[in-house]
């Protein structure tokens, strides 16, 4: 039976921000607190039409040259502190679940080679590296929807191994007809809007564009990640263990670190029924009373970037003094701990931020409010 890996070395967050269809982290957080959603019914194939499904897009979903994610990634990167990224001691960890797969699909479909420079992860990141003027020390990492968590973890290990004095984790996931079509074929992206943790007959997810970064250092900073955990169920390549123990097993090593603390939880909460039920039950069992929220009912699932986008939003919420509730959901819900409305950040001193991924992968981190 696999066990969860605990990374107990703390790491400081010097800077962290994101960009969603609702704006930067502060603007997105304010929109969530106002109950706004970026999800709109959109044709699943973009200009190609198809069923209407809930998507949160920064721009119309089309495979352009250069790719449509470039201006948004540039816009976010303009907020990075200037630190000679990609040079010795300042590594960059770029994470995504789909990188430029939409460009690859456009090439295969249309035979237009102008899409190829963006169509596979290393080429998309080489393009991004040139665009942003980074040096060569750039690592590319992808592990489905825990990609950003693993980027944070690897950056932490570099810092504590003395291989870096500051590290940049950068993530971007922008939707394409290839990605939306895949989730639509699975029927979890359908005509319904997501209602994370809500008890209902049909599960539905939304998908969203998102990009985010975190600048990490060993000490100092505006916040601290106290510990991280990663886990893979090793049960099935598409399914969670039916008893839900995978969700609990990931966060179990973090629970002792929360003794005497007052945590809140940002769960994965995409809107699928089975995973939502199992996740809510695991949190209720191990951290009874801690309020549980998901923001994917407003932003959609930003896939491999969700861990970093939602970290930036958690920090923005802490700064704003209120934690947004679970937008899109109404009672009944899977657990009394599910917070449908916002609540005061001052009542809590720690956030547990968790993500799950295709293939039974789980990741979580503890964010100190201080």
């Amino acid at each position: 039976m696999p066990t969860s890996d605990l990374i107990a070395e703390p790491v400081a967050i010097e800077a962290c921000d994101c960009l969603t269809p609702l704006g930067d982290a502060a603007a997105t957080c304010a929109a969530l607190l106002a109950g706004r959603s970026a999800l709109q019914p959109q044709p699943v194939q973009g200009a190609g039409g198809g069923d209407l499904v809930p998507l949160a897009l920064c721009s119309p979903m089309a495979e352009t040259v250069p790719p449509r994610w470039l201006p948004f990634v540039r816009q976010l990167a303009a907020r990075l502190p200037d630190a000679g990224w990609g040079r010795p001691g300042r590594p960059v960890f770029v994470t995504s679940s789909n990188f430029g797969v939409g460009s690859l699909h456009a090439f295969v479909r249309d035979g237009d080679a102008s899409h190829l420079p963006y169509g596979v992860p290393h080429r998309a990141v080489e393009f991004l590296t040139r665009e942003l003027g980074w040096g060569p020390e750039v690592f590319v990492l992808s592990h489905a929807c825990v990609s950003a968590h693993l980027g944070v973890l690897l950056a932490t290990r570099h810092l504590h191994a003395g291989l870096a004095d500051r590290a940049l984790v950068f993530s971007f996931d922008f939707l394409s007809p290839f990605v939306t079509g895949g989730f639509h074929s699975l029927k979890i992206l359908n005509a319904g809007f997501p209602a994370p943790y809500a008890v209902r007959e049909t599960g539905s997810i939304g998908l969203g564009d998102g990009t985010a970064f975190a600048v990490l250092a060993r000490t100092g900073g505006r916040a601290r990640i106290a510990a991280q955990a990663v886990y893979n169920e090793m049960f099935h390549f598409t399914s969670n263990r039916p008893d839900g123990t995978g969700f609990a097993d990931c966060i179990r090593p973090l629970v002792p670190l929360l003794a005497g603390r007052r945590p809140w939880i940002k769960g994965h909460g995409t809107g699928t029924l089975e995973a939502g039920r199992l996740e809510a039950a695991a949190f209720a069992q191990l951290l009874p009373g801690a309020p549980l929220v998901s923001w994917k009912g407003a932003l959609g699932h930003t896939l491999g970037s969700c861990g970093l986008v939602e970290l930036a939003l958690a920090l923005a919420a802490r700064d704003a003094g209120r934690i947004p509730g679970t937008i899109g959901s109404t009672a009944p819900v899977f657990s009394p701990a599910v917070a449908l409305a916002s609540f005061a950040a001052a009542d809590h001193d720690t956030a547990l931020l968790a993500s799950n991924a295709f293939g039974g992968a789980h990741a979580a981190l503890l964010l100190d409010h201080g």
């Binding site: 069923d51 074929s185 699975l186 979890i188 359908n190 005509a191 599960g203 390549f237 399914s239």
Partner: protein, 93 residues
Amino acid sequence: MSQPLEERLKVLIVDVLRLDDVTPADLADDEPLFGSKLQLDSIDALELVVRLEKDFGIKIGSSEESRQALASIATLAAYIRERAPAAAQPVRG
């Protein structure tokens, strides 16, 4: 000679999922397609749904609906007969 819908579905499943060690005759109408000896998974379900929607002109609305429809050959045949009666008619072999 006409081929009933259930038999067409068995041929389709063996073909789409490339079940090398299984013939259409091995599939019972009421045998569970998932969680049974066939050891099908959600990727198999995806492939089946895409092919069924194309061949029969049906639209499966959610993963829950998909799970119910794909419970067995019998439930799948009933689902198609309800939503696409013309496409479900026996075909001449």
